[in-house]
Amino acid sequence: MINNKIITFATVLLAGSFFLTGNGHAEEAYDVQAYGPKTTIIFNTPVTASFDHKVHTADIGLDCSSCHDSEMVAEKRGFAMQRGVAEATGQFTMAAMAEGQFCGVCHDGDMAFGVDENCAACHQLPDDPIIWTAPVKAVIFSHDQHVNDIGLDCESCHSDVFAMKVGAAPATGNYTMRALNDGQYCGACHDGETAFASNTQCNTCHIGVKGYNRAMGTTPDTGGH
Protein backbone atom coordinates (compact mmCIF):
# COMPACT_ATOMS: atom_id res chain seq x y z
CA MET A 1 0.00 0.00 0.00
CA ILE A 2 2.73 2.43 0.95
CA ASN A 3 4.54 1.58 -2.25
CA ASN A 4 1.44 2.36 -4.22
CA LYS A 5 1.17 5.78 -2.61
CA ILE A 6 4.80 6.57 -3.31
CA ILE A 7 4.45 5.49 -6.91
CA THR A 8 1.36 7.62 -7.37
CA PHE A 9 3.06 10.64 -5.81
CA ALA A 10 6.16 10.15 -7.93
CA THR A 11 4.10 9.82 -11.09
CA VAL A 12 2.21 13.03 -10.40
CA LEU A 13 5.45 14.84 -9.59
CA LEU A 14 7.09 13.56 -12.75
CA ALA A 15 4.11 14.46 -14.91
CA GLY A 16 4.02 17.93 -13.37
CA SER A 17 7.66 18.53 -14.03
CA PHE A 18 7.30 17.35 -17.63
CA PHE A 19 4.41 19.71 -18.02
CA LEU A 20 6.36 22.65 -16.64
CA THR A 21 9.62 22.00 -18.45
CA GLY A 22 7.77 21.09 -21.65
CA ASN A 23 6.10 24.45 -21.51
CA GLY A 24 9.42 26.11 -20.83
CA HIS A 25 10.93 24.50 -23.87
CA ALA A 26 8.09 25.76 -26.03
CA GLU A 27 8.65 29.31 -24.72
CA GLU A 28 12.29 29.15 -25.64
CA ALA A 29 11.58 27.51 -28.98
CA TYR A 30 9.69 30.54 -30.38
CA ASP A 31 12.29 32.49 -32.32
CA VAL A 32 11.14 36.02 -32.96
CA GLN A 33 13.82 36.49 -35.60
CA ALA A 34 12.52 33.49 -37.55
CA TYR A 35 8.82 33.70 -36.86
CA GLY A 36 8.08 37.35 -36.35
CA PRO A 37 6.42 39.12 -33.40
CA LYS A 38 4.77 36.75 -31.02
CA THR A 39 1.82 38.89 -30.09
CA THR A 40 -1.13 39.03 -32.42
CA ILE A 41 -1.23 42.08 -34.68
CA ILE A 42 -4.50 43.99 -34.36
CA PHE A 43 -5.48 46.21 -37.26
CA ASN A 44 -8.02 48.88 -36.46
CA THR A 45 -8.27 50.49 -39.88
CA PRO A 46 -10.51 50.26 -41.80
CA VAL A 47 -12.10 47.74 -39.42
CA THR A 48 -10.78 45.62 -36.59
CA ALA A 49 -8.98 42.50 -37.74
CA SER A 50 -6.26 40.34 -36.29
CA PHE A 51 -3.21 38.62 -37.71
CA ASP A 52 -1.10 35.99 -36.01
CA HIS A 53 2.52 35.64 -37.24
CA LYS A 54 2.99 32.27 -35.53
CA VAL A 55 0.21 30.58 -37.50
CA HIS A 56 1.75 31.75 -40.75
CA THR A 57 5.43 31.12 -39.96
CA ALA A 58 5.96 28.51 -37.26
CA ASP A 59 2.86 26.49 -38.12
CA ILE A 60 2.54 26.84 -41.89
CA GLY A 61 6.22 27.45 -42.61
CA LEU A 62 6.19 30.67 -44.62
CA ASP A 63 9.32 32.78 -44.77
CA CYS A 64 9.35 36.41 -43.72
CA SER A 65 9.91 37.37 -47.34
CA SER A 66 6.67 35.69 -48.38
CA CYS A 67 4.94 38.85 -47.25
CA HIS A 68 7.68 41.28 -46.24
CA ASP A 69 9.14 42.00 -49.64
CA SER A 70 9.83 45.57 -50.72
CA GLU A 71 8.69 44.98 -54.28
CA MET A 72 5.47 43.45 -53.08
CA VAL A 73 5.00 46.33 -50.62
CA ALA A 74 5.32 48.79 -53.49
CA GLU A 75 2.62 46.91 -55.38
CA LYS A 76 0.41 46.73 -52.29
CA ARG A 77 0.74 42.99 -52.41
CA GLY A 78 2.95 42.69 -49.36
CA PHE A 79 3.39 44.20 -45.95
CA ALA A 80 6.10 46.56 -44.76
CA MET A 81 7.59 45.70 -41.42
CA GLN A 82 6.56 49.04 -39.93
CA ARG A 83 3.24 49.45 -38.29
CA GLY A 84 0.38 51.08 -40.20
CA VAL A 85 1.82 51.07 -43.71
CA ALA A 86 -0.91 48.90 -45.21
CA GLU A 87 -3.64 50.92 -43.46
CA ALA A 88 -2.10 54.20 -44.65
CA THR A 89 -2.57 53.21 -48.28
CA GLY A 90 -6.31 53.66 -47.76
CA GLN A 91 -6.76 50.53 -49.84
CA PHE A 92 -6.38 47.89 -47.16
CA THR A 93 -9.87 46.61 -47.87
CA MET A 94 -11.67 43.37 -48.51
CA ALA A 95 -12.32 44.55 -52.06
CA ALA A 96 -8.58 44.99 -52.68
CA MET A 97 -7.86 41.60 -51.17
CA ALA A 98 -10.45 39.99 -53.39
CA GLU A 99 -8.43 41.42 -56.30
CA GLY A 100 -5.29 39.75 -55.05
CA GLN A 101 -3.73 42.47 -52.97
CA PHE A 102 -2.39 42.30 -49.40
CA CYS A 103 -3.66 39.09 -47.72
CA GLY A 104 -5.41 38.24 -50.99
CA VAL A 105 -2.08 37.28 -52.55
CA CYS A 106 -2.38 33.92 -50.82
CA HIS A 107 -5.95 34.04 -49.53
CA ASP A 108 -7.48 33.45 -52.93
CA GLY A 109 -9.56 30.38 -52.15
CA ASP A 110 -6.90 28.16 -53.65
CA MET A 111 -3.60 28.64 -51.86
CA ALA A 112 -5.40 29.59 -48.67
CA PHE A 113 -9.06 30.18 -47.81
CA GLY A 114 -10.56 32.99 -49.84
CA VAL A 115 -11.32 36.43 -48.44
CA ASP A 116 -15.00 35.86 -49.03
CA GLU A 117 -15.16 33.08 -46.47
CA ASN A 118 -14.07 32.20 -42.96
CA CYS A 119 -14.47 35.84 -41.86
CA ALA A 120 -14.13 35.01 -38.19
CA ALA A 121 -10.57 33.73 -38.70
CA CYS A 122 -9.43 37.37 -38.79
CA HIS A 123 -12.50 39.40 -37.75
CA GLN A 124 -14.43 39.24 -34.51
CA LEU A 125 -18.08 39.91 -34.00
CA PRO A 126 -18.55 43.54 -32.97
CA ASP A 127 -19.41 44.42 -29.41
CA ASP A 128 -22.97 43.38 -28.78
CA PRO A 129 -25.57 44.64 -28.86
CA ILE A 130 -25.82 47.13 -31.67
CA ILE A 131 -28.36 49.80 -30.77
CA TRP A 132 -29.59 52.10 -33.50
CA THR A 133 -30.96 55.45 -32.42
CA ALA A 134 -32.04 56.63 -35.85
CA PRO A 135 -34.53 56.96 -37.39
CA VAL A 136 -36.16 56.20 -34.01
CA LYS A 137 -34.83 55.47 -30.55
CA ALA A 138 -34.00 52.67 -30.15
CA VAL A 139 -33.59 49.37 -31.96
CA ILE A 140 -31.45 46.56 -30.60
CA PHE A 141 -29.63 43.86 -32.54
CA SER A 142 -27.53 40.98 -31.28
CA HIS A 143 -24.82 39.54 -33.51
CA ASP A 144 -24.28 36.80 -30.96
CA GLN A 145 -27.87 35.62 -31.27
CA HIS A 146 -27.92 35.71 -35.07
CA VAL A 147 -24.52 34.11 -35.57
CA ASN A 148 -23.99 31.80 -32.62
CA ASP A 149 -27.56 30.82 -31.74
CA ILE A 150 -29.16 30.81 -35.18
CA GLY A 151 -26.02 29.93 -37.12
CA LEU A 152 -26.01 32.62 -39.77
CA ASP A 153 -22.78 33.49 -41.57
CA CYS A 154 -21.41 37.02 -41.76
CA GLU A 155 -22.19 37.10 -45.45
CA SER A 156 -25.83 36.17 -44.78
CA CYS A 157 -26.36 39.84 -44.09
CA HIS A 158 -23.08 41.52 -45.01
CA SER A 159 -23.50 41.01 -48.69
CA ASP A 160 -26.22 43.19 -50.13
CA VAL A 161 -28.37 43.57 -47.03
CA PHE A 162 -26.18 45.53 -44.61
CA ALA A 163 -22.89 47.32 -45.16
CA MET A 164 -20.40 46.50 -42.42
CA LYS A 165 -19.78 50.14 -41.59
CA VAL A 166 -21.25 51.47 -38.36
CA GLY A 167 -24.20 53.74 -39.04
CA ALA A 168 -24.34 52.96 -42.75
CA ALA A 169 -27.97 51.83 -42.73
CA PRO A 170 -29.45 54.89 -40.96
CA ALA A 171 -27.29 57.14 -43.16
CA THR A 172 -29.21 56.00 -46.23
CA GLY A 173 -32.34 57.70 -44.87
CA ASN A 174 -34.24 54.65 -45.98
CA TYR A 175 -33.75 52.48 -42.90
CA THR A 176 -37.47 52.42 -42.15
CA MET A 177 -40.20 49.92 -41.35
CA ARG A 178 -41.58 50.56 -44.83
CA ALA A 179 -38.29 49.39 -46.34
CA LEU A 180 -38.23 46.38 -44.02
CA ASN A 181 -41.76 45.44 -44.99
CA ASP A 182 -40.62 45.65 -48.62
CA GLY A 183 -37.92 43.08 -47.92
CA GLN A 184 -34.97 45.38 -47.41
CA TYR A 185 -32.52 45.31 -44.47
CA CYS A 186 -33.86 43.06 -41.66
CA GLY A 187 -36.87 42.39 -43.87
CA ALA A 188 -34.70 40.22 -46.11
CA CYS A 189 -35.21 37.44 -43.57
CA HIS A 190 -37.86 38.92 -41.29
CA ASP A 191 -40.58 38.33 -43.83
CA GLY A 192 -42.87 35.99 -41.93
CA GLU A 193 -41.36 32.88 -43.50
CA THR A 194 -37.64 32.79 -42.76
CA ALA A 195 -38.10 34.70 -39.52
CA PHE A 196 -40.96 36.55 -37.84
CA ALA A 197 -42.34 39.27 -40.07
CA SER A 198 -41.04 42.81 -39.64
CA ASN A 199 -44.52 44.15 -38.96
CA THR A 200 -45.01 41.83 -35.99
CA GLN A 201 -43.40 41.57 -32.54
CA CYS A 202 -42.36 45.22 -32.70
CA ASN A 203 -40.83 45.33 -29.27
CA THR A 204 -38.55 42.37 -29.77
CA CYS A 205 -36.19 44.83 -31.46
CA HIS A 206 -37.66 48.21 -30.46
CA ILE A 207 -36.55 48.83 -26.89
CA GLY A 208 -37.67 52.44 -26.73
CA VAL A 209 -36.01 55.34 -25.00
CA LYS A 210 -36.40 53.58 -21.64
CA GLY A 211 -34.66 50.45 -22.88
CA TYR A 212 -31.93 52.55 -24.46
CA ASN A 213 -31.27 54.44 -21.24
CA ARG A 214 -31.10 51.16 -19.33
CA ALA A 215 -28.68 49.69 -21.86
CA MET A 216 -26.48 52.77 -21.65
CA GLY A 217 -26.72 52.88 -17.88
CA THR A 218 -27.93 56.47 -17.99
CA THR A 219 -30.79 58.42 -16.48
CA PRO A 220 -33.04 56.11 -14.51
CA ASP A 221 -36.69 56.80 -15.18
CA THR A 222 -37.64 59.64 -12.87
CA GLY A 223 -41.18 60.05 -14.08
CA GLY A 224 -40.40 63.33 -15.78
CA HIS A 225 -38.99 63.46 -19.26
Partner: protein
Protein backbone atom coordinates in the same frame (compact mmCIF):
# COMPACT_ATOMS: atom_id res chain seq x y z
CA UNK B 1 -85.70 51.73 2.87
CA UNK B 2 -83.42 54.10 4.65
CA UNK B 3 -79.76 53.99 3.56
CA UNK B 4 -77.36 54.20 6.44
CA UNK B 5 -74.29 55.32 4.56
CA UNK B 6 -72.20 55.80 7.70
CA UNK B 7 -72.77 52.21 8.71
CA UNK B 8 -72.27 50.90 5.22
CA UNK B 9 -68.90 52.61 5.04
CA UNK B 10 -67.67 50.67 8.05
CA UNK B 11 -68.30 47.35 6.35
CA UNK B 12 -65.46 45.48 4.77
CA UNK B 13 -65.49 45.64 0.98
CA UNK B 14 -66.47 42.20 -0.24
CA UNK B 15 -65.85 43.03 -3.86
CA UNK B 16 -68.21 42.05 -6.61
CA UNK B 17 -66.21 39.15 -8.04
CA UNK B 18 -68.21 36.61 -6.06
CA UNK B 19 -71.53 38.30 -6.55
CA UNK B 20 -73.88 36.14 -8.63
CA UNK B 21 -75.33 37.93 -11.61
CA UNK B 22 -78.79 37.25 -10.17
CA UNK B 23 -77.90 39.45 -7.20
CA UNK B 24 -76.59 42.19 -9.45
CA UNK B 25 -79.81 42.16 -11.43
CA UNK B 26 -81.83 42.42 -8.25
CA UNK B 27 -79.73 45.37 -7.23
CA UNK B 28 -80.23 47.03 -10.58
CA UNK B 29 -83.98 46.46 -10.34
CA UNK B 30 -83.78 48.22 -7.01
CA UNK B 31 -82.81 51.27 -9.04
CA UNK B 32 -79.32 51.92 -7.76
CA UNK B 33 -75.86 50.69 -8.60
CA UNK B 34 -72.75 50.91 -6.56
CA UNK B 35 -69.88 52.77 -8.15
CA UNK B 36 -66.43 53.16 -6.77
CA UNK B 37 -66.44 49.98 -4.70
CA UNK B 38 -63.05 49.11 -6.14
CA UNK B 39 -61.49 52.12 -4.49
CA UNK B 40 -60.43 50.05 -1.51
CA UNK B 41 -63.91 50.30 -0.04
CA UNK B 42 -63.28 53.79 1.24
CA UNK B 43 -65.53 55.49 -1.23
CA UNK B 44 -69.05 54.29 -1.47
CA UNK B 45 -71.27 56.10 -3.87
CA UNK B 46 -74.70 55.13 -4.94
CA UNK B 47 -76.00 56.44 -8.18
CA UNK B 48 -79.16 55.78 -10.08
CA UNK B 49 -79.07 53.15 -12.82
CA UNK B 50 -80.22 55.72 -15.27
CA UNK B 51 -76.98 57.69 -14.94
CA UNK B 52 -74.88 54.60 -14.55
CA UNK B 53 -76.23 53.22 -17.78
CA UNK B 54 -73.61 55.19 -19.61
CA UNK B 55 -71.01 53.17 -17.76
CA UNK B 56 -72.18 49.79 -18.98
CA UNK B 57 -69.26 49.85 -21.43
CA UNK B 58 -66.34 52.21 -21.73
CA UNK B 59 -67.17 53.26 -25.28
CA UNK B 60 -70.21 55.53 -25.61
CA UNK B 61 -72.96 54.50 -27.94
CA UNK B 62 -72.21 55.91 -31.38
CA UNK B 63 -73.92 59.21 -31.90
CA UNK B 64 -74.49 59.87 -28.21
CA UNK B 65 -71.71 62.22 -27.28
CA UNK B 66 -72.08 64.91 -24.67
CA UNK B 67 -69.80 67.38 -26.46
CA UNK B 68 -69.45 68.73 -29.96
CA UNK B 69 -66.76 68.43 -31.11
CA UNK B 70 -66.22 65.49 -28.78
CA UNK B 71 -62.45 65.13 -28.81
CA UNK B 72 -60.88 61.79 -28.15
CA UNK B 73 -57.69 59.89 -28.70
CA UNK B 74 -57.61 56.27 -29.76
CA UNK B 75 -54.31 54.63 -28.84
CA UNK B 76 -53.25 51.55 -30.76
CA UNK B 77 -50.97 50.32 -28.02
CA UNK B 78 -49.38 47.37 -29.78
CA UNK B 79 -47.89 49.72 -32.36
CA UNK B 80 -46.01 51.79 -29.79
CA UNK B 81 -42.24 51.26 -29.78
CA UNK B 82 -41.45 53.67 -26.97
CA UNK B 83 -39.46 56.09 -29.15
CA UNK B 84 -40.98 59.00 -27.20
CA UNK B 85 -41.08 61.33 -30.20
CA UNK B 86 -44.59 62.17 -28.98
CA UNK B 87 -43.18 63.24 -25.66
CA UNK B 88 -40.51 65.37 -27.31
CA UNK B 89 -43.10 67.07 -29.50
CA UNK B 90 -45.31 67.74 -26.48
CA UNK B 91 -42.40 69.21 -24.52
CA UNK B 92 -41.50 71.56 -27.36
CA UNK B 93 -45.05 72.56 -28.19
CA UNK B 94 -46.30 73.06 -24.66
CA UNK B 95 -43.13 74.18 -22.93
CA UNK B 96 -43.11 71.28 -20.46
CA UNK B 97 -40.29 71.38 -17.89
CA UNK B 98 -37.95 68.43 -17.40
CA UNK B 99 -39.47 67.41 -14.06
CA UNK B 100 -43.02 66.99 -15.33
CA UNK B 101 -44.95 65.55 -18.20
CA UNK B 102 -48.24 66.06 -19.98
CA UNK B 103 -47.86 62.72 -21.71
CA UNK B 104 -45.45 59.87 -21.17
CA UNK B 105 -44.88 56.26 -22.12
CA UNK B 106 -45.26 53.49 -19.58
CA UNK B 107 -43.40 50.25 -20.04
CA UNK B 108 -44.55 46.82 -19.00
CA UNK B 109 -42.82 43.48 -19.29
CA UNK B 110 -44.63 40.19 -19.07
CA UNK B 111 -43.65 36.57 -19.45
CA UNK B 112 -45.10 34.93 -22.53
CA UNK B 113 -45.02 31.39 -23.90
CA UNK B 114 -41.70 29.64 -24.51
CA UNK B 115 -39.88 31.38 -21.66
CA UNK B 116 -39.91 34.62 -23.61
CA UNK B 117 -40.54 38.09 -22.24
CA UNK B 118 -42.63 40.63 -24.08
CA UNK B 119 -42.32 44.37 -23.65
CA UNK B 120 -45.37 46.53 -24.07
CA UNK B 121 -45.36 50.32 -24.21
CA UNK B 122 -48.38 52.30 -23.17
CA UNK B 123 -48.74 55.99 -23.94
CA UNK B 124 -50.65 57.85 -21.24
CA UNK B 125 -52.03 61.37 -21.01
CA UNK B 126 -54.97 63.22 -19.50
CA UNK B 127 -58.11 61.20 -20.19
CA UNK B 128 -60.29 64.33 -20.51
CA UNK B 129 -62.88 62.47 -18.41
CA UNK B 130 -66.57 63.16 -18.79
CA UNK B 131 -66.78 63.01 -15.01
CA UNK B 132 -63.38 64.42 -14.10
CA UNK B 133 -62.49 63.82 -10.44
CA UNK B 134 -59.94 66.65 -10.67
CA UNK B 135 -62.64 69.17 -11.57
CA UNK B 136 -64.86 67.94 -8.77
CA UNK B 137 -62.23 68.51 -6.11
CA UNK B 138 -60.77 71.83 -7.29
CA UNK B 139 -61.62 74.45 -4.64
CA UNK B 140 -61.17 77.43 -6.97
CA UNK B 141 -62.63 76.10 -10.24
CA UNK B 142 -59.16 76.59 -11.71
CA UNK B 143 -59.62 73.35 -13.57
CA UNK B 144 -62.80 72.92 -15.51
CA UNK B 145 -64.50 70.90 -18.19
CA UNK B 146 -64.82 72.95 -21.38
CA UNK B 147 -68.51 73.05 -22.12
CA UNK B 148 -68.05 72.85 -25.88
CA UNK B 149 -65.17 70.47 -26.47
CA UNK B 150 -65.14 68.52 -23.23
CA UNK B 151 -61.43 69.20 -22.82
CA UNK B 152 -60.39 69.44 -19.17
CA UNK B 153 -58.60 72.79 -19.07
CA UNK B 154 -56.81 75.03 -16.60
CA UNK B 155 -57.28 78.63 -15.51
CA UNK B 156 -53.67 78.97 -14.41
CA UNK B 157 -54.30 82.26 -12.60
CA UNK B 158 -56.98 80.71 -10.44
CA UNK B 159 -54.83 77.78 -9.37
CA UNK B 160 -53.64 78.09 -5.77
CA UNK B 161 -51.33 75.08 -6.05
CA UNK B 162 -53.14 72.95 -3.48
CA UNK B 163 -52.51 69.88 -5.67
CA UNK B 164 -55.78 68.24 -4.67
CA UNK B 165 -56.49 67.66 -8.35
CA UNK B 166 -53.20 65.80 -8.65
CA UNK B 167 -54.27 63.49 -5.86
CA UNK B 168 -57.74 63.05 -7.31
CA UNK B 169 -56.65 62.22 -10.85
CA UNK B 170 -56.88 58.46 -11.40
CA UNK B 171 -54.37 58.73 -14.25
CA UNK B 172 -51.53 60.67 -12.64
CA UNK B 173 -51.84 63.10 -15.52
CA UNK B 174 -51.08 66.34 -13.66
CA UNK B 175 -47.92 67.96 -12.36
CA UNK B 176 -47.15 71.19 -10.55
CA UNK B 177 -45.35 73.59 -12.85
CA UNK B 178 -43.00 75.73 -10.80
CA UNK B 179 -42.66 78.34 -13.53
CA UNK B 180 -46.42 79.02 -13.49
CA UNK B 181 -46.93 78.29 -9.82
CA UNK B 182 -49.86 76.27 -11.08
CA UNK B 183 -50.78 72.74 -11.96
CA UNK B 184 -50.30 71.91 -15.62
CA UNK B 185 -51.78 69.12 -17.71
CA UNK B 186 -52.55 67.94 -21.22
CA UNK B 187 -55.30 69.93 -22.89
CA UNK B 188 -55.10 68.23 -26.27
CA UNK B 189 -52.85 71.16 -27.32
CA UNK B 190 -55.89 73.43 -27.15
CA UNK B 191 -54.03 76.72 -26.63
CA UNK B 192 -50.98 75.81 -28.69
CA UNK B 193 -52.60 74.12 -31.70
CA UNK B 194 -56.33 73.33 -31.83
CA UNK B 195 -57.51 76.88 -31.09
CA UNK B 196 -55.17 78.05 -33.86
CA UNK B 197 -56.77 75.85 -36.45
CA UNK B 198 -54.57 72.76 -36.24
CA UNK B 199 -56.56 69.56 -36.46
CA UNK B 200 -54.45 67.29 -34.32
CA UNK B 201 -52.24 67.29 -31.25
CA UNK B 202 -48.45 67.58 -31.34
CA UNK B 203 -48.00 64.06 -29.98
CA UNK B 204 -50.30 62.46 -32.54
CA UNK B 205 -48.60 64.35 -35.34
CA UNK B 206 -45.12 63.29 -34.17
CA UNK B 207 -45.93 59.60 -33.76
CA UNK B 208 -44.14 57.58 -36.48
CA UNK B 209 -46.25 54.49 -35.82
CA UNK B 210 -49.70 56.07 -36.04
CA UNK B 211 -50.29 54.93 -32.49
CA UNK B 212 -52.17 58.02 -31.37
CA UNK B 213 -55.25 58.80 -33.41
CA UNK B 214 -56.75 62.11 -32.34
CA UNK B 215 -60.17 63.08 -33.55
CA UNK B 216 -63.71 64.25 -33.06
CA UNK B 217 -66.19 61.47 -32.35
CA UNK B 218 -69.11 63.53 -33.62
CA UNK B 219 -67.54 63.27 -37.06
CA UNK B 220 -68.18 59.76 -38.41
CA UNK B 221 -65.57 60.40 -41.10
CA UNK B 222 -62.81 60.91 -38.54
CA UNK B 223 -60.21 58.18 -38.15
CA UNK B 224 -60.89 58.09 -34.43
CA UNK B 225 -64.57 57.34 -35.01
CA UNK B 226 -63.82 54.74 -37.67
CA UNK B 227 -61.39 52.96 -35.38
CA UNK B 228 -63.55 53.07 -32.29
CA UNK B 229 -66.64 51.84 -34.07
CA UNK B 230 -65.00 49.41 -36.47
CA UNK B 231 -66.50 45.96 -36.78
CA UNK B 232 -64.90 43.31 -34.55
CA UNK B 233 -62.78 45.86 -32.72
CA UNK B 234 -62.47 45.89 -28.97
CA UNK B 235 -61.53 49.10 -27.24
CA UNK B 236 -60.87 49.61 -23.57
CA UNK B 237 -60.10 52.42 -21.18
CA UNK B 238 -57.80 52.65 -18.21
CA UNK B 239 -59.28 52.34 -14.73
CA UNK B 240 -62.94 52.21 -15.77
CA UNK B 241 -63.87 51.34 -12.19
CA UNK B 242 -63.33 54.91 -11.06
CA UNK B 243 -66.39 55.97 -13.00
CA UNK B 244 -64.55 58.98 -14.41
CA UNK B 245 -65.68 58.07 -17.95
CA UNK B 246 -62.38 58.70 -19.70
CA UNK B 247 -62.09 59.73 -23.35
CA UNK B 248 -58.79 58.03 -24.16
CA UNK B 249 -59.44 54.64 -25.71
CA UNK B 250 -56.96 51.82 -26.12
CA UNK B 251 -56.96 49.05 -28.67
CA UNK B 252 -54.56 46.82 -30.55
CA UNK B 253 -54.20 47.91 -34.14
Amino acid sequence: MEMKINELEKLENEGVEQLPSEERRKFLKFGMVVTGVFLGGTVLSLTSTRTAGAMSGPVPEAGKFPYSPHYTMVIRGNRCVGCELCKEACVTTNNVPSYGYRTTILEKKRKIANEAVETAFMPVLCNQCNRPPCVRVCPTTATYKDKTTGIVRMHYKRCIGCKTCMAACPYNARYFKEENRAVDKCNFCWDTRLSKGETTTACAEACPGDVRIFGDLTDPKSDAYKLLYARDKVAWVLRPETGAMPNIYYMND
